[in-house]
Symmetry: C2
Subunit: 189 residues, 2 copies
DNA sequence: GTCTATAGAGTGATAGAC
DNA sequence: GTCTATCACTCTATAGAC
């Protein structure tokens, strides 16, 4: 429609590169010069497309959210949804950059003045809610073990994914999907 | 004995302050000038005691390890040891600085060239081993549920603690000890 | 769109006075 | 032990040429 039909190739290249480098070095650790150089640009060239560094980070996170929505099997619920999440973990261990991005930034953004702080507060609230919902559905299916609280199980699941990502980034022989799968099985009826 | 009897007051003050600020802002985010100012020093004054920033970080982590060893109830095993860990989580929510230090640095140190990278690789190997050992003991006591792998349970426990710390730092109403306790109960025979 | 050049601030570290 | 002054470098961002 009215949007620019072409010319976003550079923009896309910058977003992809910035995503990788924010993951590797964190937001503070990755400089605009480094990111621009890996795109074959100078840093003022990059700033033409994204006028501020914080704006670039925002765009990176926003694009990831859009990709997440595309990737999430739209209809899955309960056990099927949770099994899908184990598969997501298995798939993540093939894209180190993405794991780095969220593991590094969610810790860095713990500081209240970080440009992505509000984003991560909102993201965790949303994700914990979604995962808890899957356990509610699991319970309705009759597949949740007696005495397990769906809300706590949802929060546990998010924590487990985050913690395993750190362990995997420090030592890639850690089997994220295997540990998650074992955890899921221990919660089934 | 042969060690300097007094004069370490400044050194201790620097270590305490640096520990807090590395937690709040990360290693990269906390500058020597900031740390020194909060100690009532200039940054060359600080560098007299710790000649490099990486050396200061090393000293901060080393002092924490010594404190950890003091705090760990030396003899606890199995269920008693795991219950102690739930209490440690409850206590941690009263010392935000310490939680920040490890949550922030363990993500930052995921980068192979980070000055604390080797420290965290070794630390996780050690801690996962210790926690797994507690689950082996739990099994020997006959308190571990049928079909739960002690090694996986140890790794899960570490991941859960790390992930919960991030959630708690983003929203202090998250009940770290409560979620851990629920997890432990779900693993008992 | 992308560049060179530069402003203005911050960084870790050193030299040398006191 | 702690300071002032400074070095050499990096950072984000802007101005203005092409």
């Amino acid at each position: 429609m009215g949007e620019s039909e072409r010319g976003n190739a550079t923009r896309e290249h910058i977003l992809t590169t910035a995503s990788a480098m924010f993951g590797e070095a964190g937001y503070r650790g990755a400089s605009l010069r480094d990111i621009a150089a890996r795109c074959g640009l100078t840093h003022p060239g990059l700033l033409y497309h994204f006028p501020t560094k914080a704006g670039l980070l925002e765009a990176v996170l926003q694009r990831r959210d859009e990709a997440d929505i595309r990737d999430a099997g739209p209809g899955a619920t309960g056990l099927e949804a949770l099994n899908n999440l184990v598969e997501v973990a298995r798939h993540n261990s093939k894209t180190r950059g993405l794991v780095e991005l969220f593991a590094t930034l969610s810790a860095e953004a713990t500081a209240p003045d970080h440009p992505a702080h509000a984003y991560f507060v909102a993201r965790y609230e949303r994700v914990v809610g979604e995962f808890s919902q899957h356990f509610v559905e699991l319970q309705a299916e009759g597949n949740l073990r007696e005495g397990v609280d769906p809300q706590a199980a949802g929060r546990q699941w998010v924590a487990l994914m985050d913690g395993l990502q750190i362990q995997w980034l420090l030592d890639e022989s850690v089997d994220m999907a295997g540990v998650l799968d074992a955890h899921l099985k221990s919660l089934l009826a």
